[in-house]
């Protein structure tokens, strides 16, 4: 660190190893599932395996969000409209947020991405693309109309997830370029500069 640490800001271990491993495993598995789904072989066995891995990761994240370390808990980054608006007004300041966790706007994208992924894996389980080989393992449990809707939703949500991820990465780049705050290194090492008076 060549830069002087400002008053009231300190370096803390914010993200525990579980959350960090979760994040980067999720990146690998979601990207793999996505590209295998769109461009992979017609026999989608690998897509299914990465999809199951995403299910396992989401289960872990829900458990971690309820019982994990404080910064990873959902309650820690669940903000009301007032706090969210207040934070939104500071977005245009070209200065780091030093936020001790997911900030109120970032939190929205975290919840949106997790929700979209939950819908994605759920619809995958019930999808039946009429090829008798890539059939979701639970497809037999529901009607063929439901299979069809699930398949359709699985396709549409894949696009939405791509949009969310692009926005997500763009936001990270915005923090780095415009606000001068590196969020990636904390997600790798756990250490982040945060303001003491918050959280």
């Amino acid at each position: 660190m060549t830069k002087q640490i400002p008053e009231g800001v300190s370096q803390v271990k914010l993200w525990d190893v579980g959350t960090r491993l979760f994040h980067w495993s999720l990146v690998i598995c979601v990207c793999s599932a996505w590209f295998l789904g769109k461009f992979g072989p017609n026999i989608m066995t690998l897509h299914f395996y990465f999809g199951y891995a995403v299910i396992a990761l989401l289960v872990f994240r829900i458990v971690w969000g309820l019982f994990g370390p404080a910064p990873a808990r959902f309650s820690h980054f669940l903000f009301g409209p007032a706090a969210t608006l207040r934070y939104a007004k500071t977005l245009k300041n070209p200065t780091p947020s030093y936020w001790p966790g997911h900030n109120p706007i970032g939190a929205l994208s975290v919840f949106a991405m997790l929700a979209a992924l939950i819908v994605q894996v759920s619809t995958g389980l019930f999808a039946d693309p009429d090829d008798y080989i890539n059939v979701g393992p639970l497809a037999d449990m529901v009607s063929s109309e439901a299979n069809r809707s699930a398949t359709k939703l699985h396709h549409q949500m894949a696009l939405l997830i791509a949009v969310f991820v692009v926005l997500h990465v763009a936001a990270i780049a915005f923090y780095k370029r415009y606000k001068g705050e590196n969020l990636v290194t904390p997600m790798l090492t756990g250490w982040k500069l945060v303001r003491k008076d918050k959280g």
Binding site: N42, I43, D130, D131, Y132, I133, N134, R148
Partner: protein, 147 residues
Amino acid sequence: MRYALIAALIAAPALSLAGPAEKTVEARQGYFKLLGANMGVLAGMAQGKVDYDADAAQTAADNMVVLSTYKLAPLFAPGTSSDDVKDTRALPAIWKDLPGVTAKASDFGAAARAMQDVAGKGKGEMAGALGALGGSCKGCHTAYRAE
């Protein structure tokens, strides 16, 4: 009330189209349902949902080969895409790229013949050919069938 009227006005031309195009779509979907029925027999055995039966597997595979020789052109008559008829998922892309569709259909034919060679020889052999056969269905659906 006003909406009902508008709906009726929109529906009227669609209804007046009920005729040859819709019959073609019905027949086309019937053809693919037959493919599905025979695939269902093979997939059911491969997944162990029903016991493997060499004769039944061979019959299903033979049927697939027969179906693969069916001349598809009449089932894909012009004016029967998802732009023209309501209850079809056949994309207009089919009519813009007939060579591409033909290639997918011959992939299916080749996979069906490969299945015919092994379907009666044992569960493992049959299941081994199923991936390529199912893959040939997916290959065409992904490119030419709406969701």
